[in-house]
Symmetry: C2
Subunit: 202 residues, 2 copies
């Protein structure tokens, strides 16, 4: 069943895409954005939105899925092998603003979607970062006196913190990655070992 339902008009597919994209943008800015706002941002009537998505939850789910996919695409282009310090620096450089947009979206999702669905969506990208941290610990590059989950959380917390600073006008976008990297690499350094010099390495 469902093999013939592929008969969607190109017109409709374009609308669905526009809505999902607008939803990701609007909810990324404000987790409480209304469906009217999203429809308007998509250049589509509010009724049209309801023609494709039965409820608000479905719209949020679509936006979330879209953002996760985008994130996975970006993550795929990053080399997370080799020296864990450099790998982490590459991850931060490429992903900090992407991770930030996902946060507000996540806030919307947490009110609209089931906890299981959220875990299901979030699991993929999270696993890769966890693996990187775990490898860094195993190779002696990162400290092991704190849980992996805690370290991953710190990493993301500092990324979000940078986004907040930018929104507040206290930090410029081009310096964000350097600040985050310097901070996190120091936080991850094993006790007793010297903190790496920023920009120094290789």
């Amino acid at each position: 069943m469902g093999s013939k339902s592929t008969t969607k008009r190109a017109d409709a597919l374009r609308s669905i895409e526009a809505i999902a994209q607008a939803a990701a943008e609007c909810l990324g800015r404000n987790p409480e954005a209304s469906l009217s706002e999203i429809a308007r941002a998509a250049g589509v009537g509010r009724v049209t939105l309801y023609a494709h998505f039965a409820s608000r939850a479905e719209v949020v789910d679509a936006a979330m899925s879209r953002a996760i996919d985008r994130g996975n695409e970006v993550l795929d282009t990053i080399d997370l092998t080799g020296d864990p310090l450099l790998a982490l620096a590459r991850y931060i450089e490429a992903g900090w603003h992407l991770v930030d947009q996902a946060r507000a979206l996540l806030a919307a999702a947490q009110r609209e979607l089931s906890a299981g669905r959220i875990r299901e969506l979030h699991a993929g990208p999270a696993a890769r970062v966890e693996a990187l941290v775990a490898r860094g610990r195993a190779e002696g590059a990162f400290r092991t006196d704190l849980p992996v989950a805690w370290m991953v959380n710190v990493l993301h917390a500092v990324m979000h913190s940078a986004a907040d600073e930018i929104r507040a006008g206290r930090l410029t976008s081009d310096r964000a990655a350097d600040h985050i990297t310097a901070t996190v690499l120091a936080a991850f350094t094993p006790p007793g070992r010297p903190v790496p010099e920023p920009g120094g390495g290789a």
Copy 2:
């Protein structure tokens, strides 16, 4: 004018206090808590709430002021002099959960109050922490290759992160302060210098 209005019944003062306290609690849990919810939590009728506060904004302001006052009281009991590392550890130990409750409250305030009013309320406590960080830098205990504002932000971000982890059930409350301290002290260590051993010091 207004000199005779001191004639408030003890009854009324108790209600106002109960409402402010309930508001701080409810908004601390959920920034979108309705006034009905707050009134119910205060054990007071919704109309009574409007008898004392003209608008939602006034309730939020009262809750925020209350939380700030409480924070200042706690901060006053903490010795922020001496070794900056130990002072920072003392600050974290005493204030991390207090700072966390203030966050959700701040989120409510940012939607209801003017930016100026928020700065006015927030300035006091923020200044003390900034001073501590600045002193630590001047004495060579903390790194100086990152802005003070950024370091303060990192400190708070990691505190909030701990609160999130507790809510998610991945961290127990009694270990939070140790994790935060170990992480932040490492993040603040000047490049090239060894990160302090957790619990080591004095």
